[in-house]
Symmetry: C2
Subunit: 319 residues, 2 copies
């Protein structure tokens, strides 16, 4: 197997230098009662407290920082957190952001893009319409910033792991959710640059398990019909990300929908943190495979906290 020189791989270290003072250094949360329950020492990296409520702001900010001055702005298609993150990162650089969204996108995610200054353009809810919509904006001179299959995005997301490695000594492993794979590939690269003895483990809903199947098969599978409440993890594993995860032989643990709901419950009840379903998947993997983590010092990425809290709060008991 040919060894790819490091210079050609995404570098979270270089991204971190670029993002200092731009992204939030999110805290690491501890909860001894949960440690006792699961039999390991959990260190939660709180990316739901990142600007825009998810880790996506890191990659978007890094991609923006790499663009030349003088461009008109950026564009993407997104039904989720990447759109809001790109809008916020573009605004921070004084640029326009155009986000093509399927017309059936979740209300709160549309509002989030607009709240961060992004311009929303609706399209039919299919991949072809999304790509055609984006192509229109690229034709008008806007730079396309993809959500995960891109070295600048990967490097930016990886900065969360660099922080975690600085914040917590002697971690045995880092467990993070995988959808398109940009964050997990970034974590692999951060660990390679800073702490190669730390194991990186992916956590994936069984109902959207293309990453596990792809890595097991040694080729990127494309038959993918995701069905999971973890709406942030429904994407198909990116090509670049497949190559990085595959080369590093990253294990993927799958979790059930009940496991995801149960992990969300633990995070809401014990940590008092509002975490979206995708953000609870790493803890769900630790809980479902607790024997594997027994006695270890485990980094767990809480990737985001964006969900329709108003809809849930409508169900509070009355006075």
């Amino acid at each position: 197997m040919a060894v790819v020189p490091d210079i050609a791989l995404p570098s979270p270290l270089r991204a971190a230098a670029r993002l200092s003072g731009v992204v939030r250094r999110t805290p690491v949360l501890l909860e001894p009662a949960l440690d006792a329950q699961l039999g390991c020492r959990l260190h939660f990296k709180a990316e739901h407290l990142q600007v825009t409520g998810s880790f996506k702001y890191r990659g978007a900010s890094n991609a923006l920082a790499r663009l030349d001055d003088g461009i008109r702005g950026v564009a993407t298609h997104s039904s989720g957190n990447h759109g809001a993150a790109l809008a916020a990162a573009a605004r921070a650089r004084g640029l326009e952001a155009h986000v093509v969204m399927p017309e059936n996108a979740v209300r709160t995610k549309i509002e989030a893009v607009r709240a961060h200054g992004g311009q929303v353009h609706f399209c039919a809810p299919n991949q072809a319409a999304r790509e055609a919509g984006l192509a229109d904006w690229v034709d008008r001179g806007f730079v396309a910033i993809p959500p995960y299959d891109h070295d600048d995005i990967i490097a930016g997301q990886g900065t969360l792991a660099l922080e975690l490695l600085e914040q917590v000594e002697a971690l045995d492993c880092i467990v993070a959710p995988i959808g398109g794979g940009g964050m997990l590939a970034g974590i692999v690269r951060a660990v390679a640059e800073r702490a190669p003895d730390v194991q990186v483990i992916g956590a994936e809903p069984l109902g959207a398990d293309d990453a596990q199947r792809s890595l097991a098969a040694g080729r990127r599978v494309e038959d993918h019909h995701p069905q999971t409440i973890a709406d942030g993890l429904r994407a198909l594993l990116g090509q670049r990300n497949f190559a990085i995860l595959s080369a590093a032989d990253v294990p993927i643990l799958t979790v059930s929908e009940d496991g995801i709901r149960s992990a969300m419950g633990l995070l809401w009840h014990r940590l008092k943190q509002v975490i979206e379903p995708s953000g609870a998947v790493a803890l769900a993997a630790v809980a479902a495979h607790s024997e594997r983590f027994a006695g270890q010092r485990v980094g767990v990425v809480l990737s985001g906290g964006n969900l329709d809290t108003d809809a849930l709060l409508a169900h509070l008991p009355p006075a």
Copy 2:
């Protein structure tokens, strides 16, 4: 008016020395987007992250620390956070805790007392039955620890304000919810000991406004028929607490039920924190009276985060 010598008043400073290493030093949370929305600089004291999920652990731990060795244990009646806090504080000292609870108490609050090692005894849901139930345990040699109308409880709760004053420079005011008044009286005492120029302001549901009426009337009113979702603030203002708040001329701002729901929504959505209705009342007061706080540096106490999150999560949208 006779001046009461300080030595006779509850001292958060002395409590803080006792509680060092026993209670958590909770963080202060900031959210620039909320500051921009409300026109002041908010510093959220995160007592929902205290042991047992509320500030009540401070007072309970202080009361426990003041007891002689050799007692059998402690007892209280409670339908809420004080019961769980007392159970946890007693367990930390190796003592039994008996908690008399009305038979219609909220399921999750009963579970919380038990989870922290307390023994639950049910009684009829009225004040006489609660007091009779507690008297039984006192007769058997257990020390009664009341929830708020007690100097050791007041002093313990006040330690949260000492921390906040250390964590944030040059606060203009501290806004905190008021039910029985133990926490607000403790904050008044902490400010008197450490930073007498900082104004203390109470926040109370309009549907449970006995504190505002009592302070306006100059005597403790007892006609009180609370109706509010803020279940932690339904108690009648304590006598000791009335005396302290009255002497310090503490203003009380009232908030509507809609205001409480809306403030909860902001805290869940913007801060990503699970806050119970009572815990959102201070922010609701700032939002409802924002002109009063314009440009100020405001301490806002998030007093607790205990509510039935499983019931809310049952309403997540399906996969």
